[in-house]
Amino acid sequence: MSDDTKTRDTLDVWVAGTEEPQFTPTDEGAQEMALHETESRLDEELGRVVDDDYLFEDVIDEDERMILNMGPQHPSTHGVLRLQIELEGEIIRRTKPIIGYLHTGMEKTAEQLNFSQGGTNVTRMDYLAPFHNELAYSLAVEKLLGMEVPPRAMAIRILLTELNRCSSHLVALATNGMDIGAISMMIYGFREREQILAFFEKTTGLRMNHNFIRPGGVAADLPPGWKDDVADIIEQLPKRLKQYDDLLENNPIWLSRTRHVGVISAQEATAYGITGPALRAAGVDWDLRKAFPYSGIEQYEFEVPLGENGDVYDRYRVRVDEIMQSLHIAEQVMDSMPKGDYRVDDRKITPPPRARIDESMEALIHHFKLFTEGFKVPPGETYVAVESPRGELGCYLVSDGQASPYRMHTRAPSFANLQALPIAMADSLMADTVATIASMDPVMGDVDR
């Protein structure tokens, strides 16, 4: 037999009820520690030590990874964005954006339309910033034509695009707020946007998809009383923005859900070609209005707001500050609006005034030729970019001398910015997904075109 049986003491055999009661001497009132408890565990339970339970140190088994499909029908994907998210517990490891659900072949359509019809096409791409699309397209056509538009047309273009930047950023703030749970922001943002859209409707006849900025100038002059409307917007909006700050700036829930969430560093932003508020929130001082001024924006004074951390909060902050700067530009444009024609006086490009058609045969012919054939553009290629609310909006235009573009390509800012979504979301919590998407402010019409 083994040694164990030999050395076994009879006292080791336990008989119920025979043991001596054992008490450890303690301080009065103190509780005895349970046998399985340790000091470190107690610290955790009492909250003296906080352990981030979502940070896995070990390698997780393949079986424990889960692929979650989000969208394309999801209210917080801002349209028809679909994400495939690879999860480890609650942490996102990898993300794959799947796009194309709104693809309507606008670049192909542009080849069928002539140059003057093209505006109706491009204005539907980024439907929250239609004026910027029209401006990029018109500037590209004008560059191929080698044409300069009159100062008043340039000023009207700047006024409309800067107000458009405000309305687009207001939607971004509104949806960003709603996605995080600040439902009031949704109502507020859209309320303020309505005032700007009312001005657009008065000016262009439509709230969106204006086709107002056209090759050769703008479609019509500003309506009577436009100064009062713009002055009203400039007076009202800062007050409302102050309300947003009161609502959100000291709100601990808002701050903890936006600070250090969805961080994109400056290096990542440049490597992935991110532009616009997302780039500036990372602290990169880059604004096309300063770097490559267009449409005479260099004569107005404004600053480029910058963030520091490149997180959701900074992108929100940059947008609010950009609205203020855009209003500042709009104010300067309003005060210094040049007099003169609102489009070039070239009958081969712009249609004659309605009154002339009744009295002049040439005017009638020009009108007829412009609206049946359109104008021809000399062969060449060019790339023109403007600073849209979402970043660099470029138009690459190739003409082979015909009346319609040989190739029209739009460099869509949302399309490029969406590439950074997997970077911003990697190793973050699932709950931060919607905050990150909303802060990138993708417009699916712009992404898919």
């Binding site: 192909k108 490597a271 060449g380 690459y396 390509h409 399309f415």
Partner: protein
């Protein structure tokens, strides 16, 4: 030949056009066979297809840290090489833009991918592949991006018709 006459013809070396900007100039001086031209005041580099990625790397080293856009143009029969691939580069530190253009042949068009140099070229190159059928060697995930995965053809090619998709209207045979 001129040797018979005992004279040597002067070899006329045509001055190669180079940009005035010092950064661009030193970049173009690195490459003998890359043509610089101005297109409406914008710098354009015509790059041979074999040196596409090589020129890209030098451009990045010269300070072009952002690849803004990659796109293509289908010239059908108008040019010997059917496809033209266009990349728009941006240098934030020097406030410069540069467009690099190369060509790809009709049969199996393919160029080197710019994704190893600029990760931001990823989606843009996928779009070019989707729309034109130009493949990019070395691209990590060259799949369709805008069109459905089972789509046949490449829509932005000039021989891809418009409005030839059958629709379920009453008299759809009249269209097509």
């Amino acid at each position: 030949m001129s040797e018979e006459n005992g004279t040597v013809d002067e070899v006329v070396v045509e001055e190669r056009a180079l940009p005035e900007n010092t950064i661009l100039r030193s970049l173009f001086e690195e490459f003998e066979d890359i043509i610089w031209e101005l297109s409406h005041g914008q710098d354009v580099a015509s790059v041979p297809r074999e040196r596409w990625a090589e020129f890209g790397e030098s451009a990045k080293a010269a300070g072009f840290e952002v690849c803004v856009d990659v796109t293509a143009v289908d010239w059908m029969r108008q040019r010997p090489d059917r496809f033209e691939i266009v990349a728009n580069l941006l240098s934030m530190q020097h406030r410069l833009r540069l467009r690099m253009i190369t060509t790809a042949p009709r049969e199996e068009p393919s160029v080197a991918s710019l994704v190893p140099i600029w990760p931001g070229a990823n989606f843009a190159e996928r779009e070019v592949y989707d729309m034109f059928g130009v493949t990019f060697e070395g691209h990590p995930d060259l799949t369709r991006i805008l069109m459905p995965d089972d789509w046949e053809g490449h829509p932005l090619r000039k021989d891809f018709g418009v409005g030839s998709v059958p629709v379920q209207f009453k008299e759809s045979n009249r269209v097509s």
